[in-house]
């Protein structure tokens, strides 16, 4: 048997020179220096405007200091890159191929870590510069400390209305969406007409923008003189409108979940003598619900955000309240407050669902 022998110094791939990696390391270091310069300049600007910012003076100075510290961070990987380079140069002298490859790859990795850090710092710095631009007009418009401290209490109180609307609507939607989904999947010939009705509803309410549904319900029902429904408060109308719209979205989420349960599961349930309803209730829906929690939460976050639309029918929610401040004082900082409130209520929910999912994953690994 003949074997074709390739001339190799030591096992594996032929080694390339260090040139490219060295150039990358040098470039990364230069970029880090440039970014540091920009950040220091920005920090000086921050320091200069700090006295005008009233109560926020120390916040601005803290941001400036943190920014400079952050801009120094990329130098650590840059140093690692140079250390790896020294090791690589020694390996070249020894003719140790594998060591050359190892240190060269470390050098490259460190250089990329440095560049990634630089990019992050630069983006944050650009944001601060944007706020400072035009004699820090942006900061004064959106983040004016005086406006924030004047408005935050009333805005937060009014934001309670958004939370109330969202929570009640979500509870209704959980049930209504499931009802719609089950109707859409109704079995047999008798189910067909119900299924088409549910489909029509879902199609319609997914097509019409939520703001229009809110408008129609909020102004239309009182005009219709319909018992009970016509005497709904604006908050009640908002809850009803959002439930109608999001029920349609959530129905589709449930349906996808139900259809994702393997057909052998309902078959096994039916084979035990369980009716369609019982098999749905105890076997299919419980499995479907576990799977739809993440998309369900997406829709709920959408619903929570859409509570801001109720401003069109005169419900005084956080946004409406913020707008009152912003038009009285020609300043949008109060609106920034509502925006921040939405962020604050959303993030814990996302983390909560991540935890739930992780727990379920541990318990049933399928």
């Amino acid at each position: 048997m003949t074997t074709l022998q390739k001339p190799l110094n030591r096992p594996g791939q032929p080694t390339q020179p260090l040139g490219a990696a060295t150039r990358l390391t040098g470039a990364a270091t230069l970029v880090a220096v440039a970014v540091l310069a920009v950040v220091v300049w920005t920090a000086v600007q921050l320091y200069l405007v700090a006295p005008d910012s009233g109560g926020w003076r120390w916040v601005l100075i803290a941001i400036a200091i943190l920014g400079v510290i952050g801009a120094l961070a990329p130098f650590s990987p840059a140093r690692n890159a140079f250390q790896s380079r020294s090791a690589a140069v020694r390996a070249v002298a020894d003719g140790d191929g594998p060591a050359i490859r190892k240190y060269r790859s470390r050098m490259r990795n460190s250089a990329w870590v440095c560049l990634g850090g630089c990019l992050t710092v630069l983006v944050l710095c650009a944001f601060v510069l944007f706020l400072l631009a035009n004699n820090h007009a942006v900061q004064r418009t959106f983040f004016q400390p005086a406006m924030i401290s004047r408005s935050w209490f009333e805005v937060t109180k009014a934001f309670g209305r958004n939370i109330f609307i969202a929570v009640v609507a979500e509870i209704i939607v959980l049930v209504w969406g499931l009802v719609l989904a089950l109707a859409r999947l109704a079995p047999g010939r008798a189910g067909r007409s119900i299924a088409s009705l549910a489909t029509a509803y879902i199609d319609a309410f997914r097509a019409v923008p939520a703001i229009i549904v809110i408008y129609l319900v909020g102004f239309g029902l009182p005009l219709a003189h319909f018992p009970v429904l016509s005497s709904l408060s604006p908050t009640g109308a908002a809850i009803l409108a959002l439930s109608l719209t999001y029920g349609a979205y959530v129905a589709e989420v449930y349906r996808a979940g139900i259809e994702s349960v393997h057909w052998s599961q309902p078959a096994a349930a039916r084979s035990l003598g369980l009716s369609h309803g019982l098999s749905m209730r105890y076997v299919v829906v419980p499995q479907a619900v576990r799977r739809v929690i993440p998309p369900l939460l997406n829709d709920f976050i959408g619903l929570q955000k859409d509570t801001a639309l109720v401003t069109v029918i005169g419900t005084v929610d956080g946004f409406t309240q913020a707008k009152i401040y912003s038009s009285n004082y020609f300043n949008l900082s109060s609106v920034t407050v509502v925006a921040a409130l939405f962020v604050i209520v959303t993030i814990p929910q996302t983390r909560f669902v991540d935890r739930l999912l992780a727990r379920d994953q541990r318990r049933m690994s399928r």
Binding site: L272, G273, Q287
Partner: protein, 247 residues
């Protein structure tokens, strides 16, 4: 009249006929084994018997009652005729105990305690007394299949259908499941089982049926079917099975 009687059963999927005309009588306490090549319609036949598939023609009688066609109370039928699948199909979100007691509690209306006691007793019988509160995915395939059998037994079916219940198992797990079936046969449960385990069929069957091209081509006691088959097709099938080392 036999306990379970299948007359001229016809079933096709779309335009492909799967069962052309199957007739079969099963007496009480009898164990009937269905053998035949893959795709010969064994699973389909079992699924037609308890109406998991709609049949296109023929009749199924259970204890002198017609249990096929329009107006059949399929839920009642399935309480009388249990089925165990090749792929276990346990409910993954329920513990073993909940899997077993779901149907007795919800359909028969048994109190939780009564249902749980019964489940414990059955689990004891299949050697899984300590697994009541485990979830299915924490069990081996053989254990899952034993739970699936117990789940079917918990409804006290009058007939039990077993569809290749050992095909999805590793060889060393097959015996533990077959032991259970052997025990059930010994206790006199009427069973109809599709299987590729020929030696097992030979041991427990009172009748062996060879399915081919949508009909029962040949049937008889196991000694005759395995020792002296009459039909060429049966011979060829058994020959190929022997060659594969399954007899």
């Amino acid at each position: 009249m036999s306990f379970l009687q299948i007359q001229d059963l016809v079933k096709s999927y779309d335009d492909t006929p799967v069962l052309r005309s199957v007739s079969l009588d099963v007496d009480q306490h009898e164990v009937v084994c269905l053998i035949g090549a893959s795709g010969s319609g064994k699973s389909t036949l079992l699924r037609c018997i308890n109406s998991l598939e709609e049949i296109d023609g023929g009749e199924v009688w259970l204890d002198d009652q017609l249990v096929s066609g329009e107006g059949t109370d399929v839920d009642q039928l399935r309480r009388d005729v249990g089925i165990v699948f090749q792929s276990f199909n346990l409910f993954p979100h329920m513990t073993v105990q909940q899997n077993i007691t779901l149907a007795p509690r919800k359909i028969r209306g048994l109190a939780d305690r009564v249902a749980n006691d019964r489940a414990a007793e059955l689990l004891q019988r299949v050697g899984l007394a300590d697994k009541a509160s485990t979830y299915p995915d924490q069990l081996s395939g053989g254990q899952q299949q034993r739970v699936a059998i117990v789940r079917a037994l918990a409804m006290d079916p009058r007939v039990l259908l077993l569809d290749e219940i050992t095909s999805a198992l590793d060889p060393e797990l097959v015996a533990e499941v077959l032991d259970i079936v052997r025990g059930l046969a010994h206790d006199g449960l009427t069973m109809l089982l599709a299987t590729h385990e020929m030696s097992f069929a030979r041991e427990v069957a009172s009748t062996v049926c060879f399915l081919h091209a949508g009909t029962i081509l040949e049937q008889g006691p196991p000694e005759q079917m395995f020792g002296d088959p009459q039909e060429e097709r049966t011979k060829a099938f058994l020959h190929s099975v022997t060659a594969a080392g399954r007899l």
